[in-house]
């Protein structure tokens, strides 16, 4: 395991467009085989970060490495081992779906025809249709197929589902990620940015939450749901004056109390139980709720 380099290493990355800093001192590491989410609002610095990995932008300070190599020095070696779907997809409008895929395949050493056929069929795409006649969702599907087929070790997806029909987008992102990972189970790495977190809830193993160009929080998804808990308690009268240290958010509403804890939810539950609440419940926060809670507490800090 130790001999295998990380898929991505970002150290102290800073990038500014003119005077406005888009990424400021970002650190993150993506181990091979993971499905890693780069989460944040629009303008958090996600796209800039990805462009630095692809040598589309040169970091002003800090470093990025892909498979242990600097993309600026080893551009071809790096790019041949990854596939990238940008947030803005551009195809030659006069080409058909099949011509577009064949054209993109011509730049690659390997091309997985079986995955291509399977995905075209699953998305019910017409290979003979011109790409200019496709809907936005269908164009994204073509771009995703083109990213899966070269059988690369790393797949970088920048907001792959934004601007699409909510029902369609969930389904096809799962299909694409499933097809991609199936090529070499356990070894394929996905680095995906999104602000539509709910759609990626079960797909992401680990994530970094970015805001204002900085890393606000990096956690494994399971660990995050274990730590971030929402506790609700209802009392017979007004909630007693409890010691609620340990809660990162407290909301009182009449006889009810709602707390958000970042770790230590068991101790909070025990303390609440001593005041004999009528009702007491606890649940994990979803990744989306964790995102909101973490941003709010980082803004307060």
């Amino acid at each position: 395991m130790s001999s295998m380099p990380n898929a991505i290493d970002i150290e102290n990355l800073t990038y500014a467009y003119g005077k406005s800093e888009a990424v400021h001192g970002l650190n993150l590491t993506v181990r091979p085989g993971r499905c890693y989410g780069l989460l944040g609002r629009n303008g958090a610095g996600k796209t800039t970060t990805m462009k630095c990995l692809l040598n589309l932008l040169r970091p002003q300070s800090g470093s990025v490495r892909v498979f242990g190599m600097a993309p600026a020095k080893h551009e071809v070696a790096v790019k041949s081992r990854l596939a990238y779907v940008p947030d803005q997809i551009a195809f030659y409008p006069w080409m058909t779906v099949q011509e577009t895929l064949d054209y993109l395949a011509s730049f690659r050493k390997k091309w997985n025809r079986r995955a291509e056929v399977e995905l075209i069929e699953r998305f019910r795409l017409d290979p003979a249709k011109r790409v200019s006649a496709l809907s936005k969702g269908q164009r994204t599907q073509v771009a995703l197929i083109a990213a899966v087929c070269p059988d690369t070790e790393l797949l970088i997806l920048d907001e792959p589902t934004s601007g699409l029909d909510p029902i369609v987008r969930r389904e096809f992102i799962e299909t694409v990620i499933g097809a991609y990972q199936e090529g070499d189970p356990g070894n394929r790495t996905i680095f995906v940015s999104t602000h539509l977190i709910t759609e990626f809830e079960g797909l992401i193993d680990e994530f970094t939450l970015m805001d204002g160009g900085k890393n606000v929080l990096t956690l494994e998804a399971d660990q995050a749901r274990e730590r971030y808990r929402k506790i609700r308690a209802r009392f017979a009268g007004n909630p007693p004056g409890l010691d609620l240290s340990g809660a990162i958010q407290v909301r009182r509403d009449g006889r009810e109390l709602e707390l958000i804890a970042n770790g230590g939810s068991n101790e909070l539950m025990l303390r609440l139980q001593q005041y004999a609440p009528e009702a007491l419940s606890v649940e994990a926060l979803t990744l989306e709720e964790i995102f909101v809670a973490a941003l709010q507490s980082s803004e307060k800090a």
Binding site: G33, R34, C35, G178, E182, D205, D222, E283, T286
Partner: protein
Amino acid sequence: MTVFVAMKLHINFKSGMPVYLQIVDQVKSLAASGALRPGEALPSIRPLAEALRINRNTVAKAYGELESNGVIETITGKGCFLKSNQSPLRKDVRRRLLAETIDQLIVQSHHLQLSRAELLDLVEERLNALDTKRKEFA
């Protein structure tokens, strides 16, 4: 059958329990209730991952755990199958493992203010419920 298993499993992110453990627990309880019988196939990894809308790595991890617990076995090229319920562990080890879980139950029961008799009644009731389910699948 495998479609049926996929339908029976569901992931609740709000439970806060790691996703792979939810699958492990649910497969174990399907086996205990007789909904899944020895020799029957589990869904393959990719379709199950897609049906549950989760990462295939998570399903693979759950199946790995079930295999090392002796609940399922993988037959190369064929898939995963439920094993007959014969634990390789000695009886005293099995008793000790279960005692740990029961201790947690007792602590929980204390905090929920259930008396000894109420807890024992509840255990009896749940065992009966499982028996009823088993009869349904028999």
